[in-house]
């Protein structure tokens, strides 16, 4: 073949279509950049993008299409947990390296040695958030409100574990899950308001956390609100309203104030091309793709095993989502957790968590 084919699975339609679009935009920027600088191994990179609608069954047929018909050399998993978890097994069997961009299901990397993850494990992020809440923000009485999916469950578990084991005098006064499709958070917030905690740890996507911010502030809740990467989207400010969003803090993997050119160029390029600010989902997919391409380059081959070994030996990779220290033995990424705060309607640097015992799962 005269191109090197890399597969991308993303939810371009359906309820998660906005994330799919973000993935698509970002990998397009990445691939253009790679090809503009001569491609890899002297060949151009060609992306094969399919829409899995964030649906496991669709994703499995598409995985087979990528494996059997398109014969891709590696795949970026740009979709949600369930489809990503379902396809990981099949890529493992076909011995095609697979890098999940932001899906959080813990079993994805356990499917085998061909499966990697560039996003944080939810538990890692939970622990990091707990550290931010207690160390950086000094909260003593904390409420936890989380989205009732695998992500929220494991994240809040990590959060609580950290508080229990690593801190003293900190109390979790409230902890409840809300269903994924929730729109009205007032029943929860009313309860929280009554308890008047120092800080509310809110887990969820921007379309959940945004309204939570809005409704909480409307109801007169004054507590600090801390979120995580799911809320990492410029849309959050729009949905929460500028005043409610102000001062909101998240743990994530994209630091907009990172001076490194890779970050600043990407942000400029993205805003220029699409007229909106990028988010963490896109950035993670961008990294997943560039990690693969970097590995191919270093492997000097498109052989599956060679690429796998090269990905596994990634070290201090200059990624969009921070300097990637590498992947651990089960294929989980090791990189610092970024802490961002909204100021004047934009995410800015607030801090970073890079304690090895937190970020190394």
């Amino acid at each position: 073949a005269d191109t090197i084919k890399i597969g991308v699975l993303a939810p371009l339609t359906g309820f998660a279509a906005a994330d799919g679009e973000s993935v698509l935009n970002s990998v397009n920027i990445a691939v253009d950049k790679i090809n503009a600088s001569g491609g890899v191994l002297g060949k151009k990179v060609e992306l094969v993008v399919y829409d899995d609608r964030a649906d496991a069954k669709e994703a499995v047929s598409l995985a087979h299409k990528l494996i059997g018909q398109d014969r891709v050399v590696a795949v970026v998993g740009g979709s949600y947990s369930m489809p990503t978890r379902a396809v990981a097994t099949f890529f493992q069997e076909a011995q095609i390296p697979f890098v999940a961009a932001y899906a959080v299901h813990p079993d994805i990397t356990k499917a085998g040695d061909f499966c990697f993850r560039n996003g944080f494990l939810a538990e890692v992020e939970g622990k990091a958030a707990a550290k931010v809440a207690t160390d950086m923000l000094g909260a003593k009485r904390i409420a936890v409100l989380y989205s009732d999916i695998d992500f929220g469950r494991t994240l809040s578990k990590g959060f609580k574990e950290y508080i229990e084991n690593k801190t003293t005098g900190v109390e979790i006064v409230y902890s409840k899950a809300y269903p994924f499709k929730e729109k009205d958070y007032k029943p929860y917030l009313s309860e929280i308001k009554e308890l008047n905690p120092d800080l509310i740890m809110v887990n969820g996507y921007y379309f959940q956390t945004g309204p939570i911010l809005k409704q909480a502030r409307e109801m007169g809740i004054k507590s600090i609100i801390l979120g995580e990467e799911g809320a990492d989207s410029p849309k959050l400010v729009e949905l929460a309203g500028p005043s409610a969003a102000e001062g909101f803090i998240i743990v994530t993997n994209l630091n907009r104030d990172d001076e490194r050119p890779v970050v600043q160029n990407f942000i400029k390029e993205y805003e220029g091309r699409y007229g909106i600010a990028p988010d963490m989902v896109g950035a993670s997919a961008y990294d997943a793709l560039t990690i693969i391409v970097d590995a191919i380059q270093r492997a000097g081959s498109t052989d599956g095993k060679a690429i796998r070994d090269a990905i596994a030996s990634t070290k201090d990779f200059d990624g969009l989502t921070g300097v990637i220290k590498g992947f651990n033995e089960i294929g989980e990424v090791v990189k610092p957790v970024q802490v961002q705060i909204i100021k004047f309607g934009k995410y800015h640097y607030f801090g970073v968590v890079d304690d090895p015992d937190i970020i190394n799962p």
Binding site: L12, A56, S61, H64, G68, M82, A86, H105, A111, D148
Partner: protein, 294 residues
């Protein structure tokens, strides 16, 4: 044959099995169900749990799957004795949501993480994958078809047809609505269970959202498009609605729109289903004619 084509074939075969079950409930017995995916899910989860927690083989667990799904199907059929038509439709939607919530929130079922690591089906010590798994699915489909076909020929089928038309009148000729409605529910849901077991062992990872309400809707669409109350309709419907989105795959952005438009068009032009009474395939073969109609 490449693995992609085989995968599509497998999904179509599994859907045909499940939709045939739905057909017995809705098409033959006239009990509208919008929650069939729940039973598909119960079959899949039972198989997955027996395989991962009890280490049972597919073959050993299959009878248990059938019994469990059928029994739960029987229980879920009970509301149909009390509520009818639209009320029943809504009740079955409710059942779907409740069952999905169970899978999602009860840790025993893997909770929000789903169940992974489901082994492959083995036959004579050899794991079946790709083509051989397709053959397995087709064999089950054949059995399901035979049951459906016989159902239209047996007294119990005729009893169900009378129930479909008029329950009170059916009772006056000695048909017990309880018995025959529940019979249809048991057989129909057991078929869904078989489909679910195959699905679980093929996907090898399942989660609650695979069996949500949209899946039920998809199955009903397959049935309506293919031809409600016909033996072959479920297969045709599963094939059409399984293939269309794949054919439109290259259109990426317009794919689902086109799919929706075509579904609408088919329903609009062939409201009785393609194999139905006034459908496009009007055939003299009795096997194609809606149970008991001329």
């Amino acid at each position: 044959m490449d693995s992609y084509i085989i995968t599509i074939g497998i999904f179509i075969a599994i859907n045909s099995i499940v939709v045939s079950g739905l057909n017995i409930i809705v098409g033959f017995a006239g009990q509208i169900s919008l929650g069939h995916a729940a039973f598909f899910g119960i079959g899949a989860y039972t198989a997955a749990i027996l395989a991962t927690k009890a280490g049972m083989s597919f073959w050993l667990s299959l009878p248990i799957v059938i019994i469990i799904t059928g029994t739960i199907g029987l229980l879920m059929g009970l509301p149909s004795l009390r509520v009818k038509e639209d009320f029943l439709a809504i009740t079955t939607i409710g059942i779907n949501f409740i069952v999905e919530a169970f899978f999602m929130y009860v840790p025993f079922f893997g909770g929000a993480l789903g169940i992974g690591g489901i082994p492959r089906v083995e036959l004579l010590g050899k794991p079946l994958h790709g083509f051989s798994f397709l053959v397995l699915c087709l064999s089950f489909l054949l059995v399901v078809l035979l049951v459906s076909w016989w159902f239209t020929k047996a007294w119990c089928g005729l009893a169900c047809f009378t129930l479909r038309d008029d329950e009170v009148a059916a009772s006056t000729i000695g048909v017990s609505p309880i018995k025959f409605k529940l019979l249809a529910f048991v057989i129909g849901t057991a078929m869904a269970g078989v489909g679910g077991a195959l699905y679980a062992h093929y996907m090898r990872f399942i989660s609650a959202s695979d069996f949500g309400f949209p899946v039920s809707v998809m199955m009903l669409s397959m049935l309506v498009v293919g031809g409600m109350g016909t033996v072959w309709g479920p297969i045709l419907g599963a094939a059409i609605l399984g293939l269309l989105p794949e054919i439109f795959r290259p259109l990426i952005d317009y794919r689902m729109l086109l799919y929706a438009a075509l579904l609408l068009l088919v329903i609009r032009l062939q409201p009785g289903g393609i194999l139905g009474d006034n459908g496009f395939v009007k055939t003299r073969l009795r096997i194609f004619s809606r149970g008991g109609k001329k």
